[in-house]
């Protein structure tokens, strides 16, 4: 992870760490904080606790998003302090709706100049974001749509359950826009619970979401999503999301948390060890295996 972030994430980059509640690479976010990247533009549909931590640590000066909050809990206090009080510095924002953000990635991933959607009608959102533009269909119906521009992150970082050494990555459970955000990016880091043999991937090609051809680095980082989750591997740590509300409310407790859990540790392995084995055992779900399908052999 140190090498991947050192080589692929640069000061001033637009960085997308995606994952809709599921598969959010907290491990990568922490490494970016640890390496003290600066002036990043952070893009994400749902700036969640990871961006509160990163923005609280001062790595970014702009946020592109569609819903900011601590899902199921409430606010992102560090982000709000920056927006409401420029404390300790202002934070530029550029906001969309979820569908708009998804389609920005779609346009970026598909090499299109814009993407049309039926949204934003009679909403004030376009009035505060000039990049959301009304347009009429050139065909007979003349339907009014709004278009959004492509989002092309310099770096997209996604977590997946598994990948082979080339970065062919498989995901199950909530897919978010991992695929779209990866294809839209200039550089891609895939972080996984397990690096597996290529044969494992080839046995179930429908599950491959990101091909190694667009991946620049593969990092094996077990529990790398915590407190987010990896379906089938560990549960969402809801208690931590609730606890973050208390931690982030006061800049001093936030700084102390970053000191203890990010700057004070060399890497994510130490973070995992610091929680201890019993903690991770408590987050492990009972198994619920999928049935197997028969792809057939056509020799």
């Amino acid at each position: 992870m140190q090498d991947a972030v050192r080589e692929l994430v640069r000061d001033g980059d637009t960085v997308a760490i995606e994952g809709f509640t599921h598969l959010i690479s907290f491990a990568a976010g922490h490494e970016i904080i640890r390496q003290r990247r600066r002036d990043l533009t952070l893009a994400r549909m749902t700036p969640d606790v990871i961006y509160d931590q990163m923005i609280g640590a001062g790595v970014a000066n702009k946020l592109i998003f569609s819903w900011m909050g601590n899902p199921g809990v409430g606010n992102l206090h560090a982000v709000r302090r920056r927006i409401e009080h420029a404390d300790p510095a202002p934070l530029e924002i550029e906001e969309y709706s979820h569908f708009g953000m998804v389609c920005r990635y779609m346009a970026g991933a598909s090499n299109l100049p814009f993407f049309p959607i039926r949204s934003y009608y009679e909403s004030d959102i376009p009035s505060v974001n000039p990049k959301i533009v009304p347009m009429r269909s050139p065909y007979e119906d003349g339907t009014e749509v709004y278009v959004v521009p492509p989002l092309r992150p310099d770096v997209t970082i996604v977590h997946a359950q598994r990948a082979d050494a080339d970065g062919d990555a498989q995901i199950w459970g909530l897919l978010g826009c991992q695929k779209e955000a990866a294809f839209a990016a200039e550089r891609v880091i895939v972080v996984v619970e397990e690096v597996v043999d290529e044969a494992v991937i080839r046995k179930d090609p429908n599950r491959t979401v990101i091909p190694g051809a667009i991946v620049d680095a593969v990092v094996e980082e077990p529990f790398g999503c915590h407190p987010s989750f990896a379906q089938g591997y560990y549960d969402r740590d809801n208690a931590f999301y609730l606890e973050w509300d208390r931690i982030a409310k006061d800049p001093e407790t936030l700084d102390a948390w970053l000191g203890e859990w990010v700057y004070g540790l060399a890497n994510h392995r130490e973070y995992v060890e610091k929680f201890g084995r019993a903690y991770w055992d408590g987050l492990r779900p009972e198994p619920a295996l999928s049935g197997e399908v028969d792809y057939g052999r056509y020799a």
Binding site: T21, R80, G173, D235, A288
Partner: protein, 261 residues
Amino acid sequence: MSDTASTERGYSKSEIMIAASARLLGGAKNCFVGVGLPNIVCNLAQWTVAPDLQLIYESGAYGARPERLPLSIGDPTLVTGATAITSMYELFAYYLQRGLVDVAFLGGAQIDRFGNLNTTVIGDYDHPKVRLPGSGGACEIAIHARQILVIMRQAQRSFVDQLDFRTSPGHSGDPAHDAARGWSGSGPTAVVTDLGTYGFDETTGEMTLLTLHPLVTLEDVRANMGWDPRVADDLGETPAPSQDELRLIREELDPGGVYTK
């Protein structure tokens, strides 16, 4: 309704909001669910008035069968046992924009008399007093879901004459304009608060008080909203939650009382 009164009545404000909302889902097939109260409402409806209800979460879970109360709309319990898991694009484009969603729940920090909602900002956008989460999927849900149900607690600061920001469009106040919009959604159809239930007038699109919850007066309602509300000629009383509904809420859906106390 004071807390004492609610104790006398044998149910909480949240419980009557949940029961009244669930009854509105009778016959619904595909429902876009949020976390918190809407999640409990939809699960209650599945047990009572809408056994065929498919729960859709914007995280991409379709036909979810959660085995525990999810804290967030992206909980892993929504995945295991679901009918389908879709990408975000498929969910918003194929399921929502194409018009498959019958009912969706929305809420907000502010609502106006035409059901327009603000989830973006209190105060000036560039110098916000309170920065709220933003749209999420709400803006497109408001446009495409055939019916919108709003569950919100009522107060002067949330039921306002003028929104600080219109995140999600409701009715415009001009029925001819609304009819010509060509959206698949019909705009907000019901609002359930801790004081009563509202519909929207068919000719003006204005929120109209239909029922008061037991022990609530018209004065209570007026004291907790920023405009003088239109009141139905046949203003009724919201039926209290039945023993069966209360048992399901307390024993099956929210045994910890996280959302319903």
